[in-house]
Amino acid sequence: MIKGAIVGLGKMGLSHAAILGAHPCVDFVAVCDTSSLVLSAFKKFSNVKTYNDYKEMVEKESLDFLLVATPTRFHYPMVKCALEHDLHVFCEKPFSLTTQEGQELVELTSKSGLINQVGYHNHFIATFRELKRLLKVGVLGDLVHFMGEAYGPVVVKEKGVTWRSKSEEGGGCLYDYASHVLNLIQEIIGRPVEARGSQLKSIFSKGVEDAVYCLLTLENNVSGLLSVNWSDETYRKMSTTLTVIGKNGKIICDATEIKIFLKNPVKKENLDKGWTIKRITDFAIPVNFYLRGEEYSAQIDNFIDCIINKEYSVFNNFEQGLYTDKVIEFILDDSKKK
């Protein structure tokens, strides 16, 4: 059994706690949070130990891994502490608030050989994986353009101040929402190397942006658009779409389906001329325990498998997480240009 603990019991932390609790290879032993309300619920109803100081938890419990699900500004000290105690680390996204800090953490892991993963769960949704595979085998031919979009109803009215209202703490739409799309673009289509025309727009929030729009150029010279808005209540929940256009057609991919249009058929992929629709049900990743979506369990399964097999994760390692932080940083810089 692999012993693990969580620091940060917000929405994601609680969801991770349940998934770890149900995992057959994990001995989930401790939680840490600053909310006495949440800790007393764990004390009263579960068998895990509770802490309000993560350092104390890391010192006292003989852990194999730490899962960090605190607000972003705490990621750096907590992940560093865990790595220094030889713990494998799963860290929620976005990875770090500054790329210097992120770089330091990446270097620490590369020296230690510890397993590291960031919570960009969309890579565990089979439709996005299939999109990556189809692009890799070249069904679209030369790529011409892409569009990465995410919309949802997170902030739909003027609201009070929480950590999410502070841009320096990574609370805005760019860090929280757009990071998912940037990470998908980076891993599926190509790494962005330049942002132009970046617009960060506040709609209801004070101090942070609710929407991000920009033009991205990728390392493979393909350019495309990013359009993300978390104040869009025409969506019931976060909805993320990648559209990729090539000389041989177009693919539109979201978490539920892939719509493929081809000018010329691709026989080896069994794809006809014209439209082909593939659904998530055709290739969903099976999980032993389900909470809120297969992808949340599948990403934890991957992390635990990597620890057991002593293999680096090919999905969402710290270096990949750091690259997304770098893209966020150059979008921020570009948005400040007059």
Binding site: G10, K11, L14, S15, A17, A18, I19, L20, G21, A22, S35, S36, L37, V38, S40, A41, F42, K44, F45, S46, N47, P153, V154, V155, K159, G160, T162, R164, T234, Y235, R236, K237, S239, D254, A255, T256, E257, R279, I280, T281, D282, A284, P286, V287, N288, F289, Y290, L291, R292
Partner: protein, 285 residues
């Protein structure tokens, strides 16, 4: 329970096969009258149970039912609580304490006269009961013989191993509402084992049951074994495998399991409702 339970996903932009379709339905059911119209069609086809989340808009539907008591006197609602997005959005926006303040009726300090939050800290079961009461308020005067707890909460409790909350829910629903507690889950075998270990026998469990094993965590073989061998009252949902199966083959598959008591499905057109109801009556014994 009736064999045919009419669901509400189609009214609230929930579609597991297509985000795009979900949004189209969102537009179609903009007005409550459009929802009532479809419910009336279902009633005219002989369906008497509507299983729905405690979405804000359901309270307007309930007003309509109360205003026409004669028309709906044999009509049942199976509430499914909570409408999780409501709380999830509030948690992100307001944090835990403010969320509790917003949804627990009355002043929190008034409700917990003996010392405000210190009391909340110690009495989560009381807090849960207050939240249940708040969710149930909209159904006053309407028949609610079975009251469900949603899968996101059930499965969260299962994972966190906070099992005694399930016992507390079970007894509160029986005592206060004189209703049968029901459980929705994506992890049916694990839930049934857990409920049995708590001494809850023959529970009503609503879970995905379909030929392709979609959202059947633990695997289709284990589900089939439980459906054949264990003692519980299963309701099948997501029977069409998020729209990938034809109605006939999917309901025919359910017919292999004599234990299945009811099938939950949602549809927006009279034709679909009629067809699915006929199949359920044909194959479910």
């Amino acid at each position: 329970m009736d064999k045919v339970l009419f669901g509400d996903n189609q009214f609230f932009a929930v579609n597991h096969a297509s985000d795009e379709k979900a949004r189209t339905q969102f537009i179609q059911f903009k007005e409550n009258a459009a929802i009532i119209n479809v419910i009336d069609q279902a009633i005219d086809l002989g369906i008497n149970t509507f299983m729905c989340t405690t979405h804000d808009r359901i309270s307007s539907i309930c007003d309509h039912l109360r205003n026409h008591p004669e028309r709906y006197k044999n009509f049942n609602i199976y509430p499914c609580m909570p409408y999780a997005h409501k709380y999830a959005n509030a948690l992100t926006e307001l944090g835990i304490i403010e969320t509790i303040k917003q949804y627990v009726p009355g002043s929190i300090f008034g409700t917990f006269a003996k010392g405000g939050f210190a009391f909340v800290n110690k009495d989560f079961v009381k807090l849960m009961e207050l939240l249940i009461d708040a969710e149930m308020k909209m159904f006053k005067g309407i028949n609610t013989p079975v009251i469900f707890i949603q899968n996101v909460i059930v499965d969260m409790i299962l994972g966190l191993k906070m099992y005694s909350l399930l016992s507390a829910y079970d007894s509160y629903i029986r005592e206060k509402y004189k209703a049968e507690p029901g459980y929705i889950t994506m992890n049916m075998p694990l839930l049934l084992d857990t409920l049995n270990s708590l001494g809850i026998e023959n529970p009503i469990i609503c879970s995905s049951i379909n030929k392709i094993g979609f959202r059947m965590s633990g695997g289709i073989e284990l589900y089939e074994k439980y459906l054949n061998e264990k003692q519980f009252r299963p309701i099948a949902m997501q029977v069409l495998g998020a729209g990938t199966l034809r109605p006939k083959e999917s309901i025919e598959y359910l017919g292999k399991f004599s234990k299945i008591e009811s099938v939950l499905f949602g549809a927006s057109s009279k034709g679909h409702i009629k067809e699915t109801k006929k199949l359920i009556e044909q194959y479910i014994s």
